[in-house]
Structure formats: structure tokens, C-alpha cells
């Protein structure tokens, strides 16, 4: 009998092996499952088509179609077996790892952020719209939407004179013989079909689009039942690429994405522009970042290393204790120990913060201390490490327990027979074998804790802060520190934040690369 293929269960392969021994067999169940899985994948991908068409993102649409076609072809064909295994992982890698990194890079060379979110055209629209003011002395008209010869028009009643006028894109025209309702709205007029509220609501978009030109400005609908004559005091002038208006002209500056007037003031509505490496230069030259970088970096390293070492030490100790053959009630202990890992870290961090409260916290109440744990640099650092230890050791316990199962007991027993005491057996046999399996996880855990934003932000928010350097706190990690610089003060500056992320990415990448390299050497030693 030939060896069954990887995909087909051996039994089925055996059943059909007599007829066509060399090829994989297609059973009905197999086809149905495959088609079902493919259908779901295709449906998910095609779900994205209408919005993409509406947004006219043709490149993205082409990508979606190409991915769907490749997936369908790949899995409906009998060939490309290795690709069948590689493609899903590759797609996820591209979508969730490579694309975000590239997107961060591309954001980092823009000024994207509050005040610079949209395009220049959107900024102009916003500036003009927010400068629209009711023409002084003009009435607030009662509005009825109506049709005249199929065309949508406004019937406007002056509330003071009860005079009715027709408003259309051609301007105002008098209307005779209109019937007014209780509120002054026109209910009927000869030659017009007055729309009901529901009909008008259904045509809200068209109503919003109607601008009735007048001498003083223009009449626009304000809701379904009112219209006002308004005039924009700020108007874009294409001839000078500027906004004409009060304190103007406000000249467009493509370098900063703002309209600037001769006095150097800017209009707050800006647009997104490419700023090249400005954000990176700012990270490198900003004295606030420079002077504090080393201190924050040192504590960041301490925090990440400390978290990995303490959680690993405790997790491993507990795992070893439970691994002992004479241990009873192992299952109960395991469940209890995994609890901190199973609870939402978000809530736990906030609870820990409150437990460290000086006057109301459980820690001081139980110990009788009066320490302001999160209010002093040393104790705050100790506290966040303790909290992170509590949150992190169950994970280490889990992975160590798993790795321990793979180490044959004979090895430690043999070490015992050779005269090694328990400590030596652990140090020379168990630990090295554990590290072979766990080193990559320790490196990953380091990288995670290096950027462990929640653990700091939700407990100390980076504090405590020294009285004269309030931009940097004693427990600030690079990520919380730069979050404060980019988002904490004033508006969100996504471009700047992205540039900082690129730097942090580089730091973590280098540290992790060094870590993995060492791991590999270790594996070679013990292979």
C-alpha cells in the first residue's frame, strides 16, 4: 500500500488504494468541506467589494479580486500542494504584519493628525461652511419644499409679512394665492405640488443641495421647515490659492498644510501634506525627547528584563513544584494558578492601581504600612513590576509545564544516580533543556513587555512625576512617554507618533535579533 497523502485520512486512502493507488482521492465530504470553506472565504472577500467600489479604491479592489481568484484556483486545483499550506499564513502575514508596518512608515512622513486629517478641498469646504453667517436683518423663512413642473423648489414665507416667494437656483420669484398653515408654512399653492414632510425628508439630499442666490448672499435650507439667507465671510480664491476674508488673505502653505496670513497666524482647519523626514528630525532634535531618552530607555530595559525574569522564575518554580511526582491535587492548583491569566488584564490593572492607594488600598490596609506606593519613584517601579509579575507568571507556568512534559524523567533520575543533588540536576539537566524550548518565548515576552503600554498607562500613567520635569515620569516606558508627547498634550499627531513608532520598532527589532541569535547558539550547543 502506498503512503497516504498528508491531507486524506489514511482510512479513506486505503479504501480507494486498489483502484488508483498513486493519486489523492476526492470524496464527497471532502469536496463539500472544501467548497464550504472556500465559499466563506470568497464571501468575506467579496463583502468588501461594494464599499470599495463606492469609495473608488480601484487598487484595493484589484487586490481583493486577485486574492479571491488565487485562493479559488489554488484550492480547487489538485496541484500546488505546498502552496496550499503556505498561502493562508502568507496572506495573514501580509495583511496583519507587513501592511501595518508599511502603513506606519507612510504615515510617518506626513503631518496626519488633528487639524490635518483630510484633503485641502475638505479644509476649504470646512472653512467656508464655518464662516457662513445669517445676513444681518434677513428673516428666518418658513420653508416648504414643493415641485413645480417636476423641479424641486422652495416655497419661502417671510414670518413677519407672510409674503410667499419661490426660491430656486435661479433666484427668488413672487408666488400668488398660496395657502398658509398654522405655523406659516405654505400648505398649498397654485401650480405647485407641496411635498409632505416624509416626501421632503426622503429628498433631504436634494434640498440640501439647493442654493438660492440673493443679493446679500444665498438662501439655504436649515432643516426641513426653515431656510435662512447666509453669506460666507471666508471664501477660497483659486487665482491666489488663498482664502479671502477677515485678517486675510490666508495663503495656502503646502509645506505645513495650513492657510497662513501675513501676520503668521493660521486657520485651524488644515490639510494633510507630505512633510518628508520632518517628524524623524523632530524626534532626533527635540530637547524634551533627547534629554530624557536615556533615562526612560534604561528603565524600559529594566522593566522588560525584570518582568521576563521574575515571571519566568516564579512560573517555572511553580511548574517544577507541580511537576513533582509526589504532588497531589495538581489539577486544582493548575486551575487556580491560571486564573490571573484568564481574567481581563485591563480590569486587573485598574484593580491593582486601587489596591496600591495610600489611604484606601488593600495593600496598606493588610500590611499596616502608610507607603504612598504609586507616589514615589522607587516604590512605584517596584509596584508595577509586582503587578506585571502577578499578571505574567501564569503564562510562564503554562509554557514551562508544557516543556517539562517533553523532558524524560529518566534524565533527571539518571543524574540522581550519578550522584547529582536536586539542585545540580535542575541546573545541569532540566534548566538547559527547558531553555532550548523556551528561549524564543522569553525573547518574545521581552519584546512584548518592552512595549507593555497597558501595564504602565493603567496603573501609574507613567508617574510619579518630578516637580520640575512634568513631561517624564519615573515609570514611563518609551511607548507611554511618546504617547504622551504625541497624543497627551493637545491634539492627536498621528504622523509624529508613527515616526516614534518606527524608532521603537527599530529598537525592539535590534534587541530581539540579538536575543534570537543567542538562542540559536544555545540550541546548537545542546543539540
Amino acid at each position: 500500500m502506498s503512503a497516504p497523502s498528508v491531507i486524506d485520512p489514511p482510512k479513506k486512502a486505503a479504501r480507494h488504494s486498489a483502484a488508483r493507488p498513486a493519486r489523492r482521492q476526492v470524496t464527497t465530504a471532502f469536496v463539500v468541506t472544501r467548497v464550504a470553506v472556500l465559499a466563506v472565504a470568497a464571501a468575506l472577500l467579496l463583502y468588501a467589494v461594494p464599499p470599495l467600489v463606492a469609495a473608488e479604491s480601484w487598487v484595493a479592489l484589484a487586490v481583493v479580486i486577485a486574492v479571491s481568484a488565487v485562493l479559488g484556483y489554488l484550492y480547487l486545483s489538485r496541484r500546488f500542494v505546498p502552496a496550499k499550506y503556505l498561502v493562508p499564513g502568507t496572506i495573514f502575514l501580509l495583511a496583519f504584519q507587513v501592511f501595518p508596518v508599511l502603513f506606519t512608515f507612510s504615515t510617518s512622513v506626513t503631518n496626519f493628525g488633528d487639524g490635518h486629517r483630510g484633503t485641502k478641498a475638505e479644509a476649504v469646504t470646512a472653512i467656508e461652511a464655518s464662516s457662513l453667517k445669517q445676513v444681518p436683518g434677513s428673516p428666518s423663512y418658513q420653508l416648504s419644499a414643493a415641485t413645480k413642473d417636476g423641479e424641486l423648489v422652495f416655497l419661502l414665507t417671510d414670518p413677519a409679512t407672510k409674503q410667499v416667494q419661490e426660491g430656486s437656483t435661479d433666484g427668488l420669484a413672487p408666488v400668488e394665492g398660496a395657502t398658509l398653515g398654522m405655523t406659516g408654512k405654505v400648505t398649498a399653492a397654485p401650480g405647485y405640488t407641496v411635498l409632505t414632510t416624509a416626501q421632503a425628508a426622503a429628498r433631504g439630499k436634494e434640498i440640501a443641495a439647493i442654493t438660492v442666490p440673493t443679493r446679500g448672499g444665498a438662501i439655504k435650507a436649515n432643516g426641513l421647515s426653515r431656510a435662512v439667507e447666509a453669506k460666507a465671510s471666508m471664501v477660497y480664491d483659486a487665482s491666489c490659492d488663498c482664502i479671502q476674508g477677515e485678517n486675510g488673505p490666508w495663503k495656502a502653505s503646502e509645506a505645513t498644510g495650513y492657510f497662513v496670513n501675513p501676520a503668521g497666524d493660521v486657520l485651524s482647519q488644515g490639510w494633510q501634506v507630505n512633510v518628508g523626514l520632518d517628524n524623524f528630525v523632530r524626534v532626533m532634535t527635540d530637547p524634551t525627547i533627547n534629554t530624557n531618552f536615556l533615562g526612560v530607555f534604561a528603565w524600559n530595559l529594566t522593566f522588560a528584563l525584570g518582568s521576563v525574569l521574575t515571571t519566568f522564575a516564579l512560573g517555572m518554580a511553580v511548574a517544577l513544584a507541580l511537576h513533582h511526582p509526589k504532588m497531589r491535587g495538581v489539577k486544582i492548583y493548575r486551575i487556580l494558578l491560571i486564573l490571573p491569566y484568564a481574567m481581563p488584564a485591563f480590569a486587573m490593572l485598574l484593580i491593582w492601581r486601587d489596591m496600591f492607594n495610600k489611604d484606601f488600598g488593600l495593600v496598606n490596609q493588610l500590611t499596616g504600612l502608610t507607603t504612598d506606593w504609586l507616589g514615589q519613584p522607587t516604590t512605584a517601579r517596584l509596584a508595577v513590576l509586582l503587578v506585571n509579575l502577578w499578571l505574567g507568571f501564569p503564562y510562564m507556568f503554562l509554557v514551562t509545564t508544557g516543556a517539562l512534559q517533553a523532558i524524560p524523567r529518566e534524565l533527571t533520575e539518571a543524574a540522581g544516580l550519578d550522584g547529582a543533588n536536586a539542585w545540580n540536576a535542575f541546573r545541569r539537566v532540566t534548566l538547559p533543556l527547558l531553555l532550548v524550548a523556551l528561549s524564543p518565548l522569553l525573547v518574545a515576552s521581552f519584546a512584548f513587555n518592552f512595549n507593555n503600554f497597558n501595564a504602565i498607562q493603567l496603573t501609574t500613567a507613567g508617574g510619579p512625576f518630578d516637580v520640575d520635569s512634568i513631561r517624564v515620569g519615573a515609570t514611563d516606558l518609551l511607548i507611554t512617554y511618546t504617547f504622551r508627547l504625541a497624543f497627551g498634550s493637545g491634539s492627536a499627531q498621528f504622523g509624529f507618533a508613527a515616526a516614534i513608532s518606527v524608532f521603537i520598532f527599530a529598537i525592539v527589532a535590534v534587541l530581539s535579533a540579538v536575543g534570537f541569535r543567542r538562542t540559536r547558539k544555545q540550541e546548537d550547543v545542546y543539540r
Binding site: 467589494v49 488633528d114 483630510g118 461652511a129 524634551t288 501609574t460 498634550s489
Partner: protein
């Protein structure tokens, strides 16, 4: 085999595309509906999407939104935004997936305007006259009204009348009474005013202002001027010193946090609470006797002005159905009956004077809060205000812990100026 595979794929793709289209049709319709509304049945006219913060308010808005929908023959969808509503709204608006109407705090206006996310709201003079003047002032930004206010909130001093019968005339008296009661063991804390490790500018501001501190200078029109940061200059330094003094006495403490301040008062462990109308639910439930008064000034100091926060309805600039949104915001929620009903569902002091008068009789606390805030400062809506909160808070926490006031003031000043120098 390959041909069969391709045929299956094609069939599959068609089937999936059909599913996708039918599922997407209603969502995609508004974007492409402009040229063909005449074909739509009148009942399925437009759709108004409203976003609001907080489960309670969302639930309170629902019946009114639905009634509006029924009256105008449109469907109304109301959605609760829990996490960071302002940023969510601005980001979604930019992507074209935002709502038509947003409900939120007036101090978002500056940032929403600079991002082109909201449009001015055209209230008639009669409508404006119907509101509490502070509320209209709060939603006015750069001379334009950007929202229809519906609730006004500010801080006041709530005291346990079993422990302190009469309202103290000065804040020095509050501090002295609180400390004396603590010394006698009648209470555990002298004052429940939340500070926390990161400080709390909103709750500290009345004391800061009474001690002479200010955040910004004023422009010619009386609006806060972001070019004159005053958080750490002149009289503000003295104000930081005053906060430090209260810290030294143990009246202000970093261990009083947003989580424990109201419960501690409700338990009777505090004679005084500085908080807003949102605290009253817990306070009433506790059953203790209380009274509400304005936060008193320091002896010989300036008035202790609380920030006034106004909840308002905004018209999204990039909404799909602006006409309906304007109708809802300018002509519907400004109605006294709607304002009264909104109050019944979610008791926040109404911004409409007529609605306030209607509910005042049943809820005397409201009038007291309103009274405590009548000289309040509408929270500055300029985008630059967001540069104040964190440095102010951190400086506050450090002087309360005993840090040097002049140093803290200087550091706060520098931090704010730096983040505003763009």
C-alpha cells in the same frame, strides 16, 4: 478537472457576489442615492444616524429619536459610542462612515471644527433666548453657534448637614471644619475632592481660580487666548502655592481618586464633597442628609469659578443626511417637551430655561447646582485647551505631594507652551 474547477469557482464567485450585493445594498444605497430618490417609497424616506455617549443617555434618546422618525417618515438609528467618542466621531466622519447627529460635550467643539467634522447650527434669536445664557455661550465658538445645548453641568460643594449644618462662607472654613471633624474622629477624610496620582484639573480649577490662578489670557472679544498661556505665571504661581498648602494640611490628597471620592462621602466618611449632579444618585441612595451650595472662595480671594460643561447636539458636516440632521437639532431637540422628557429619562439639569422651570419643583437640587454654576466659566472649547489638562494635573499632584510651587508652575507653563508651539 481543471475546467470543472474553474466553472465551480465562477459559480461560487457569482453566488457570493450576489449574496454580498444583497447584503450590502441598503448600506451602499445612501452613498449613491442622490440621483434616484424619486423611486423610493415615501415611508422609507431617509435615514438619520445619531451617535451618543453612555448607555443611559442612548437609551433616553431612543424614544425621541424614534418619534422624530415617525413624524417625518424616516428611519432613525441610534448608536452608543463607548470608547473615546470624540476621536471616534472625528475619525469616522473623515472616512465617511460617521453619523448625521453627534451628542457630546461642548468642549469638543474646537477640535471638531479644526477637523471639519461639525457645521454651525442656525438657531433663531427666540430659540437662543430660551436657553440658559451660559449654555449658549458655551456652544458658541469663533462667533458661531455649533450645537443645540440640552444640559448644563458644573461642580458644587455638597456637605453632610448632620456634620456641618450651615454652608461655610469661605473655603478656609471648609478646610478647617473638615480637619477638625477628622481630628475628632467623626470623619476619615477632611475633604472629598478627587486628585489621584495624575491630578484632576477639572476638580481643582475652582480652587485654583479663587487663589488667583488662570489658564489663558483673554482676547479682545473675551474668549480665552491661546497665545497667552498663564498657567504658570504671575498670580498663578501663588495659586499653586495655595494648592500646595492644602496638600500639606492633608485637605487635598492624591489618594482621593475618581473611584473613591463619591463613595467615601456617601458612606459618611467625609463631611464635604466637591462634585457634580452625577454624584447625586449615590448620595441620595445613601440616605444621609445633605445640602448643596456653591464652592466658596478663599478668604480675600477671587470667586471660585467652576467649569461649566454643556451637553449638546451637533450636526455632522460629513453626514449623509444633513437636512434631517438640521431639522432634528434645530427644530426638534430645542423643544421644551423633548427637553423635559430627556430630563425624565436621564436627569441632567436642562439647558432650556422653560424645561428647567418645569422640573425645578420636583428636584430642588438642580436649582442649587444651577445657582452654584451661575458665575462659572464655560469650559474653554479652543483646541488648545486639551494641552492644559495633563500638565495641570501633574503639576497639581506634585504640589499637593509637597513639591515646590514655583518649580511646578514653571514646568507646567513650559510644557503647555511647548505643546502649543507647532
Amino acid at each position: 478537472m481543471r475546467i470543472r474547477a474553474l466553472a465551480t469557482l465562477a459559480g461560487l464567485a457569482l453566488a457570493a457576489a450576489a449574496c454580498g450585493n444583497s447584503a450590502e445594498a441598503p448600506a451602499a444605497a445612501p452613498t449613491s442615492a442622490a440621483p434616484a430618490p424619486s423611486s423610493a417609497a415615501p415611508a422609507a424616506g431617509g435615514k438619520l444616524v445619531i451617535w451618543s455617549e453612555g448607555a443611559k443617555r442612548t437609551a433616553a434618546l431612543k424614544p425621541f429619536a424614534e418619534q422624530f422618525g415617525a413624524e417625518n417618515g424616516v428611519t432613525v438609528e441610534i448608536k452608543e459610542i463607548t470608547e473615546n467618542p470624540q476621536q471616534t466621531f472625528v475619525t469616522a466622519s473623515q472616512q465617511g462612515s460617521g453619523p448625521d447627529v453627534m451628542v457630546g460635550a461642548h468642549d469638543w467643539i474646537g477640535n471638531m471644527v479644526q477637523n471639519g467634522a461639525v457645521e454651525p447650527v442656525n438657531l433663531t434669536d427666540e430659540q437662543k433666548a430660551g436657553f440658559n445664557p451660559v449654555a449658549v455661550k458655551a456652544v458658541t465658538f469663533n462667533g458661531q453657534v455649533y450645537g443645540a445645548p440640552y444640559a448644563v453641568e458644573n461642580l458644587a460643594l455638597i456637605r453632610n448637614t448632620d456634620l456641618v449644618a450651615d454652608a461655610p462662607a469661605t473655603f478656609d472654613e471648609v478646610a478647617a471644619k473638615g480637619l477638625a471633624l477628622k481630628k475628632d474622629g467623626k470623619v476619615k477624610e477632611a475633604l472629598c475632592l478627587q486628585v489621584a496620582q495624575v491630578g484632576d484639573a477639572y476638580h481643582a480649577y475652582p480652587l485654583f481660580s479663587s487663589a488667583g490662578g488662570s489658564l489663558f489670557g483673554a482676547t479682545a472679544t473675551g474668549d480665552p487666548d491661546p497665545k497667552q498661556v498663564q498657567i504658570g505665571t504671575g498670580d498663578s504661581v501663588k495659586a499653586w502655592g495655595k494648592l500646595g498648602e492644602l496638600g500639606k494640611k492633608g485637605v487635598l490628597k492624591t489618594s482621593i481618586t475618581p473611584e473613591n471620592s463619591i463613595p467615601t462621602f456617601a458612606k459618611g466618611d467625609c463631611a464635604f464633597l466637591v462634585s457634580g449632579p452625577w454624584a447625586m444618585n449615590d448620595v441620595r441612595k445613601s440616605g444621609l442628609k445633605y445640602d448643596i451650595s456653591a464652592i466658596p472662595a478663599f478668604e480675600g480671594g477671587k470667586p471660585a469659578t467652576p467649569f461649566v460643561g454643556v451637553q449638546a447636539f451637533f450636526v455632522a458636516a460629513k453626514g449623509q443626511n444633513k437636512t434631517l440632521a438640521q431639522e432634528f437639532v434645530t427644530n426638534y431637540v430645542t423643544n421644551t417637551d423633548v427637553a423635559k422628557a430627556l430630563y425624565d429619562a436621564d436627569p441632567r439639569p436642562p439647558a432650556l430655561t422653560a424645561a428647567m422651570d418645569l422640573v425645578k419643583g420636583n428636584d430642588p437640587d438642580l436649582a442649587k447646582f444651577l445657582d452654584a454654576g451661575k458665575d462659572g466659566l464655560p469650559m474653554p472649547a479652543i483646541p488648545e485647551m486639551s494641552a492644559i489638562w495633563e500638565p495641570f494635573g501633574i503639576a497639581e499632584a506634585s504640589v499637593i505631594k509637597g513639591g515646590d510651587a514655583a518649580k511646578a508652575a514653571g514646568a507646567a507653563q513650559k510644557a503647555v507652551e511647548k505643546s502649543l508651539a507647532k
